[in-house]
Subunit: 261 residues, 2 copies
Amino acid sequence: MLVFSEKLKKCVRENGSRVVLALDLSPSVGEKDFKRRLLVKSRRILSEVEEHIVGVKINFQLLLPLGLFDDLRLLIEDVSHYGLPLIMDCKLNDVEHTNEWASRYFFEAGFDALIVNPFVGWKGGLDAVFSVAKDYEKGVILLVYMSHPGAEEGYGQRVVRDEGAVRFQYEVFAEKAKSWGADGVVVGATQPKIIERVFEIVGRKIPIFSPGIGSQGGVIGEAFRAGATYAIVGRSIYQSEDPKRSAKEIKEKINEAMGQF
Amino acid sequence: MLVFSEKLKKCVRENGSRVVLALDLSPSVGEKDFKRRLLVKSRRILSEVEEHIVGVKINFQLLLPLGLFDDLRLLIEDVSHYGLPLIMDCKLNDVEHTNEWASRYFFEAGFDALIVNPFVGWKGGLDAVFSVAKDYEKGVILLVYMSHPGAEEGYGQRVVRDEGAVRFQYEVFAEKAKSWGADGVVVGATQPKIIERVFEIVGRKIPIFSPGIGSQGGVIGEAFRAGATYAIVGRSIYQSEDPKRSAKEIKEKINEAMGQF
């Protein structure tokens, strides 16, 4: 079995893509039989775009209605069939007992990596996630700066370090990604200058996953020029009239941008 | 239908208790038929202790194996049958699209309140949770200081505010609980001095939920003297040989402590 980072690199080579599909479909309010529809629609979109993506990210939008060991299994099997790495984006930020069991359940269910919030700290917190991930040979990705406006309140705040120096929170998190041995970091595409700064800290060895392109206003060229390694794209693909064409176009735009530097 | 805070107060009056049961059961590794066992054991413990508690808190330990709209429904129905408020402790900390749908699913499934991480900020983040909670007349509880040692890294850090003043992160979060209109805050029982400081900020109107008593080292008397309103207790009850007796003893210890000041 390939570990997460190797599986991801293999897909980049095979599919020539840097697009992680965020399968965050939601039903129309009051829609009947919404669970079956969510599953059918998610599987259909995945089958249409699989050759143009490099991984799949799932969050509460599908986890809660479909159930980890219930209907979600069918989608997880599809992702595995296409050979794509699967990321759980529940932004785990709990104490060790919960972190340990959540990680076990997600990895047992077939996820290759988990996104976690470094704000929760190491001892009795994220140490448990990294420890379980090591046992299962899976990946852990740290949130370093999110893509919404309110991210500024926390991720963008200035913090006083032990030695009295004032640093941005995202710089502290990027340093933790290095020292904790994270397999990736998330930095919103809406903040190319922050991507640039995080890239300076983490270097080429830790990939930067960048959500927020398209519907949230992030621009592909800017994010990748700044150091993004992968784009996390949801609505611009799954809400498109032609998801396959949209995935292909985003893939090509990224590759074009990557070719310019 | 009673809103969350009223339902909670009603249970305090009726059960004379300030104990929120954290039903965070985990299976033994490799245990067969573990989903059914988790459900059966959780329902049994709940039925034994229901008269000595004031609410129930559920987290990933049961959500993931049982499934929100699958077997977990039976447990949710039990909690509702006992008239107890039910809290989802998944520490939501996401962007608005995810927050909105996660909140909807949890409230539709029967939860009365959600615990969220204020670090994620308001705009395009937690505003969505508060907005959905308002629509459903449900509660939102903010993490202000967690109970594990690593909490110091984030919740205990010093941050520079706009006006240049240096504050502790938990003070900033306690102020947000007030300005955002939260229905409660979480402060670990392991930090009575921080409970005291948070109580100074939020006052009597916002209850303080305090986890970490017992197995995590928190002391009942110290936490309640400092201003805790409710204790969140898990292992000290569900791992006890006699959960009913343990719940009753913890309830009485809290009431004794509360009577001393």
